[in-house]
């Protein structure tokens, strides 16, 4: 499954939509988008991931990168992650550091 990503920043919220497979090959594209939105100092980062079908630890590393780049006060939301991705977030404890939501804004 190929990887697609797009991003925008509106009203201080960075919105990034990810589709397909997020592995070590595609993670650099995610990193680029994080860098791009970081330039606009958003207060929240929202990842729309309902069409993200695979995520390896390379994706988790990018979430850490985002937190470091945007600052510890920036909240990270994941909108509608698939069950098997939630399982990886649980296994690694990342589930406690992000907000899993059905839609954004709530």
């Amino acid at each position: 499954m190929s990887f697609k990503i797009k991003s925008e920043v509106a009203d201080s919220v960075a919105k990034i939509t990810l589709e397909g497979s997020l592995d070590s090959a595609s993670a650099p594209l995610f990193q680029e988008e994080i860098q791009k939105v970081a330039g606009q100092s958003p207060k929240d980062m929202v990842l729309f991931v309902s069409e993200l079908e695979f995520m390896a630890s390379a994706g988790l590393r990018m979430i850490v990168f985002a937190k470091q780049k945007l600052g510890p006060n920036v909240q990270i939301f994941l909108v509608k992650p698939q069950d098997l991705i939630i399982e990886t977030l649980q296994m690694t404890g990342f589930i406690h550091s992000v907000h899993i939501v059905d839609k954004y804004p709530a």
Partner: protein, 142 residues
């Protein structure tokens, strides 16, 4: 019944990760494993294959290498073996994040070892052997 064995070689490059996962999904499906088992097998293999390609081959300046993927189905178990000629490396000796590490705020977390931890937890068995080549062995049961 004899084991059904297949082998496919992939270039040791990051762009091979997706074809490796596709190959394993196809095998898993053909033997009737469910989506969750197949996903987790792909995840485990992806993590270890990433390390082999990045650390085993690329960081040691070895180019043109291969990762061989051998699948064997026998007795309701699917075994996947990754074989490579990169430097000998046992991922099971890699330090894993501790319980404490997993509770730390993201920005303070050590990132090493996450992939190996995921790999170990995602399959029923994970072993490493060396016989002149690295052999990373993953097993899923029905």
């Amino acid at each position: 019944m004899d084991a059904i064995i297949e082998k496919k070689s992939f270039d040791a490059i990051i762009d091979s990760l997706s074809p490796i996962r596709d190959f394993l999904s196809e095998k898993g499906n053909s033997f009737g494993f469910d989506k969750k088992k197949i996903y987790k097998l792909c995840l485990a293999v992806d993590e270890v294959a990433t390390n082999i390609i990045r650390h085993g081959y690329e960081e040691n300046g070895k180019t043109g290498g291969l990762v061989d993927v051998i699948t064997s189905f026998y007795d309701n178990k699917l075994t996947v073996i990754l074989e490579d000629d990169a430097i000998a490396y046992n991922p099971l000796e890699h330090a894993l994040p501790s319980e404490e590490d997993l509770k730390k705020p993201l920005e303070d977390r050590p990132i090493g070892g996450l992939g190996v931890m995921i790999a170990k937890q995602s399959v029923d068995e994970f072993k490493y052997e060396y016989n002149g080549r690295n052999r990373n062995i993953f097993v899923i049961n029905f």
